[in-house]
Amino acid sequence: MAESAALSTASELKVIIFQLVDKEYALPVSQVRSIEKLQHITRVPKTPHFVKGVLNLRGVVTPIIDLRLRFGLEQEPYSDSTRIIIAAAQESEVGLIVDAANDVLDIQAESIEPQPEVAGTIDEEYIEGIVKIDKRLFILLNLDKVLNPEELNNTSGKEG
C-alpha cells in the first residue's frame, strides 16, 4: 500500500487536515486530488445511506460519501464551510463530505502512533494511526478501509 510505504520510508508526510464534529482528521496529500465546495449532488437510489449520490466533477461522474454518516456520527445540515475532498482510491475517485478542510501540515513519520486501545466513536479499522503535534490530535485515515467496497454492498440500502 502506498500509504504504508510512505509512512515507513519518508520521514516527513504532507497531510490535509479536515474536521468532522469536534475531531481533526488527516489524509496524505498524495491521496487527495482536489477540495471542492458543496454543489448539486444527484441521489443514487438503493445505495448505502452514507452514499449521498454522484456529482459532475469536470465531466467525470464522481460518487460522494458523507463521512459523518460513514463513521456513524450524527448528521447536521451542511454549512458554508462544508467541503468535498476528492480522494483517489484504487482506480477511481471518490468525494468525501467533511465539515471543513482547513489545513495542510507536514508531520514526522515518527510522530505517528498506533491507535490507543480505548474504543472511540469511530470503528478503529479506518484508522491508520494517531498524530500528536503540540496540543492538537489528528487521526490519520486509512482510505482503502473507508471505501471498502465489500461493506458498500453489505450495508442495506437506507436513504434518508
Binding site: H40, R43, K46, R58, V61, E159
Partner: protein, 678 residues
C-alpha cells in the same frame, strides 16, 4: 536505444502492412499475372522486414526475408504463381500475424517458423513442394514463358536514358538470356567468358543478377544481360553459344515504350535494394494518380482513445458553460455579446459533431481480415466459397468495433462449416458448386445492421427441435406451438450445437450463445432467419455508438432521470381511475393488453416533495415481448446524451445503467429498464 516508445507504432504499422499483404495476395490469386500486385506485397513485406529488424524481432525479420525472396522470384518471373505457392505465402503471413499479436500482447514474438521457412526456401530455389508440381516448376524455372516484347527485367532512370540515347544513335538493345549447362563446374568462368564476348560485340549496361553476384556464382543456371550493340540478335546468340558449357542463349530486343508502361516492374537486384527502393517510391508517385492507387491514401494519425475521451469530457464542460453564457447574454441583452455568444454556440456545435465523428471507424477494419480467413477455411473444408462484402465503409463507434470481431468470426465459420454444403451435394441439389456468403453492413436509424447470409442448406426445424428436446432446452409440448423463427433462434440457447460431426472449425460446444451474449452486452440484438435448402441469414443489430444514446428525460418529484429511447414504445397519460388491481399488482388495460405498472417513485425511493395530480404519466417500455408502464411525474423531452459510467465504487446500483451530465451541469441517472421488467 530504448525501443519501447516505438513499440506501439511498430505494432500498428506491422498490422497494417500484414493486412496489405493479405489483401494483395488475395488479389494476386485472382490475377496471377499482375506484377504490380506482387510489387505492392513486396513493398509491404520489405518495410516490415526493416522495421522488425530494427526492433530486434529476429524471427519476424527472418521469415519476412524468406517471404520477400519468394516474392522477388515471382516478380522476376522465376517463380510462377500457383495456389500451392500462395498457400505457403499465406501461411507465412499468418505466422507473421501471430508473431505481431504475440508482441502486442507483451510477448517476445518468437515462434517456430522452420516449417514455413523451409517451404519458402524450396519455392525460392524453384524446387517443387510436391512431386506433382515437379515438372511444372522445373519447366517454369528453366524456360520461362517468353512473349515477344515483354521485358524480363526493368531499368532505372539512368539505364533507361542510356537505352533511349543509344537507340537514337542507331544502336539496338537486347536482353540476352544465357543458360549454362547444369553440370558446369566453374560457372563464374563461363560468365566471364560470356561477358567478354558480349563486350566485344557492344556495351553491357546491366545484368541480372548483378555482376558481383554472378562472379560469386550466386545464381542458378541462367542470367540476363542487357546489351547495346549494332550487331544482329542472331549473331550475338551464335557468339554466346560458342562459349563452352553454354546450353542456350536467346536475344530479345528491348522495347522502351513497353518498359515505361510497366515502371513498377523493377529490378530485383538484391545489393541494389536500397537504390531500387528509392526508385520504386519515385515511380510509385508517378504512377499513383492514373493507374492503381496504393491503398486509400488517407492521411491519418493515431490517437489514443483515452485522449479522445478526455477531449470529450472537456468539451462537455464547455457545452455546459456555453449554456450558462447564453443565459447570461439573454439577461444582459447586449447586442454585441449576443452576437458573439451565438457565433460561439454555432462553432461549438460543429466541434461537437467532429469530436463525435472522430470515434467512428469503418467496419472495414473488422471485415478486412475475413476474405483471407474464408479462403483458408474453404480450402480446409474442400468447399468452393465466394465471400461478398457489402457496405464495408459503414461507420461504427470504436468501442463497438473492438467487440464485434469475434462474434462475426464465429458466425462466418458457422455459415461456412454448417451452412454451405459440399460441392457435390450442391450439384446434386441443382445449385452452383460455388457457395455464396454475403457479409453486409448498413445504417438504419440509430443502429447499424450486419447481416451474414449464405445460400447453403438452411436449417431443419425438426432437427433443431429434436436436438433442443434432447438437450433439455425445451419440452416436447412447448415445441409444438413454436413458430419457425422461434425454433431457429433456439440455436442461440447455451449448450446447443447442430453439426452432425464436430469439426475443428465450429461446433466446439461453446456456441452461438456466446455470440448472443457478446452482442447483447453491446446493447445489440441478433436473430436468424432460414429457409431449408435455400440458406440462412444471421442479422445483427448494433447501436451506432456506446457513448451517445437517445433518451427520454423524465422527472419524478424533483429528480431527473433518463430512459433509453431504444426500450420505449410510447408514452401515455392516464387517469388514476383507469388503474386496475390484479392480485397485488397494479395494471392497466393498454390497447387490449394487460400491462403492469411500475411506480418509479417507490422503486427508486424518491423523496416526496409535493403532491401528485390525478393523472399518471406513463412511459411504456419493453423487454423482449414483455411490456411495462413506468409511472413518472413529468416528461421533459427527448435528448441525445453522453453515456457515463457511475464508477467502480457504485457499480452495483439497482436499476441504474449509467449516468449523464445535463446541460445545467447536474448528473442525471439512466434507468435500466431490463432490471425493472421481471
Amino acid at each position: 536505444m530504448d525501443m519501447s516508445q516505438y513499440l506501439e507504432v511498430f505494432i500498428e504499422e506491422s498490422k497494417e502492412h500484414l493486412q496489405t499483404c493479405s489483401e494483395q495476395l488475395l488479389e494476386l490469386e485472382k490475377n496471377p499475372e499482375d506484377l504490380a500486385i506482387v510489387n505492392e506485397i513486396f513493398r509491404s513485406a520489405h518495410t516490415l522486414k526493416g522495421m522488425s529488424a530494427t526492433m530486434g524481432y529476429e524471427d519476424l525479420a527472418n521469415l519476412t526475408h524468406k517471404m520477400e525472396n519468394v516474392l522477388d522470384g515471382i516478380r522476376n518471373e522465376k517463380i510462377r504463381v500457383s495456389t500451392e505457392i500462395l498457400d505457403v505465402v499465406f501461411q507465412a503471413v499468418d505466422d507473421l500475424e501471430a508473431m505481431v499479436f504475440s508482441i502486442s500482447d507483451g510477448g517476445d514474438g518468437k515462434r517456430n517458423i522452420s516449417e514455413v521457412v523451409n517451404k519458402l526456401m524450396l519455392i525460392e530455389k524453384g524446387e517443387p513442394l510436391t512431386e506433382a508440381l515437379a515438372k511444372q516448376e522445373m519447366s517454369a524455372a528453366s524456360a520461362p514463358e517468353m512473349q515477344e516484347g515483354t521485358l524480363l527485367i526493368s531499368y532505372d532512370e539512368f539505364e533507361l536514358t542510356v537505352l533511349q540515347q543509344s537507340r537514337e544513335q542507331g544502336f539496338d538493345s537486347y536482353e540476352v538470356t544465357v543458360q549454362i549447362r547444369e553440370d558446369c563446374l566453374l560457372k563464374a568462368v563461363r560468365v566471364f567468358m560470356v561477358f567478354e564476348v558480349l563486350e566485344k560485340a557492344g556495351e553491357v549496361i546491366k545484368s541480372t543478377p548483378s555482376a558481383e553476384k554472378l562472379e560469386e556464382e550466386q545464381f542458378d543456371r541462367e542470367f540476363i544481360v542487357t546489351l547495346i550493340t549494332k550487331e544482329s540478335a542472331e549473331d550475338i546468340c551464335k557468339k554466346v553459344m560458342k562459349v563452352s558449357e553454354v546450353e542456350h542463349a536467346e536475344c530479345r530486343p528491348v522495347i522502351l515504350e513497353q518498359n515505361e508502361n510497366q515502371p513498377e516492374n523493377d529490378s530485383g537486384n538484391v545489393p541494389d535494394e536500397e537504390k531500387a527502393d528509392d526508385i520504386k517510391t519515385e515511380e510509385k508517385k508517378k504512377v499513383a494518380p492514373g493507374t492503381r492507387p496504393a491503398g486509400t491514401g488517407n492521411k491519418t494519425i493515431r490517437v489514443n482513445i483515452e485522449r479522445l475521451d478526455s477531449l470529450m469530457n472537456l468539451f462537455e464542460e464547455l457545452v455546459i458553460d456555453r449554456g450558462r453564457l447564453e443565459q447570461i447574454s439573454r439577461e444582459v441583452n447586449n447586442q454585441e455579446l449576443n452576437e458573439t455568444v451565438e457565433r460561439m454556440s454555432r462553432i461549438s456545435g460543429d466541434l461537437q459533431n467532429i469530436i463525435l465523428n472522430m470515434r467512428m471507424v469503418p467496419v472495414d477494419t473488422v471485415f478486412n481480415r475475413f476474405p483471407k480467413m474464408v479462403r483458408q477455411l474453404a480450402r480446409d473444408l474442400n468447399k468452393n466459397i465466394n465471400l461478398e462484402i457489402i457496405g464495408a465503409e459503414t461507420e461504427l463507434d470504436r468501442t463497438v468495433i473492438d467487440e464485434i470481431g469475434d462474434p462475426l468470426v464465429h458466425l462466418l465459420r458457422n455459415a461456412l462449416d454448417h451452412g454451405i454444403e459440399m460441392p457435390s451435394v450442391r450439384r446434386g441439389k441443382g445449385k452452383s458448386e460455388e457457395g455464396k456468403v454475403t457479409l453486409k453492413a448498413y445504417h438504419s436509424g440509430n443502429y447499424v445492421f450486419i447481416e451474414i447470409e449464405d445460400d447453403g442448406a438452411g436449417m431443419n426445424r425438426e432437427k433443431i427441435l429434436r436436438k433442443a428436446i434432447e438437450k433439455g432446452i425445451l419440452s416436447e409440448q412447448a415445441s409444438e406451438t413454436m413458430t419457425d423463427k422461434q425454433v431457429y433462434n433456439l440455436i442461440f440457447a447455451s449448450g446447443f450445437s447442430t453439426a452432425d460431426q464436430i469439426s475443428d472449425i465450429s461446433g466446439r460446444g461453446v456456441g452461438l450463445d456466446v455470440v448472443r451474449n457478446t452482442i447483447e452486452s453491446l446493447g445489440g440484438a441478433v436473430s436468424i432467419d432460414s429457409q431449408e435448402g435455400k440458406g440462412s441469414v444471421f442479422s445483427i443489430q448494433l447501436p451506432l455508438t456506446l457513448s451517445i444514446i437517445s433518451v427520454m428525460l423524465i422527472e419524478i418529484q424533483k429528480e431527473k432521470y433518463a430512459i433509453p429511447l431504444s426500450s420505449i414504445i410510447e408514452t401515455a397519460i392516464i387517469k388514476k381511475s383507469e388503474v386496475l388491481n390484479a392480485h397485488s399488482q397494479k395494471v392497466i388495460d393498454f390497447r387490449g393488453r394487460v400491462v403492469p405498472l411500475v411506480f418509479l417513485k417507490e422503486v427508486l425511493e424518491v423523496p416526496q416533495m409535493f403532491e401528485e395530480d390525478e393523472f399518471y404519466s406513463l412511459v411504456m417500455v419493453r423487454k423482449g415481448d414483455k411490456m411495462a408502464g413506468l409511472v413518472v411525474d413529468r416528461f421533459i423531452g427527448q435528448q441525445e446524451i453522453v453515456l457515463k459510467a457511475l464508477g467502480s465504487y457504485l457499480q452495483s446500483a439497482f436499476a441504474i445503467s449509467g449516468a449523464t451530465i445535463l446541460g445545467d451541469g447536474q448528473v442525471a441517472l439512466i434507468i435500466d429498464c431490463n432490471a425493472l421488467i421481471k
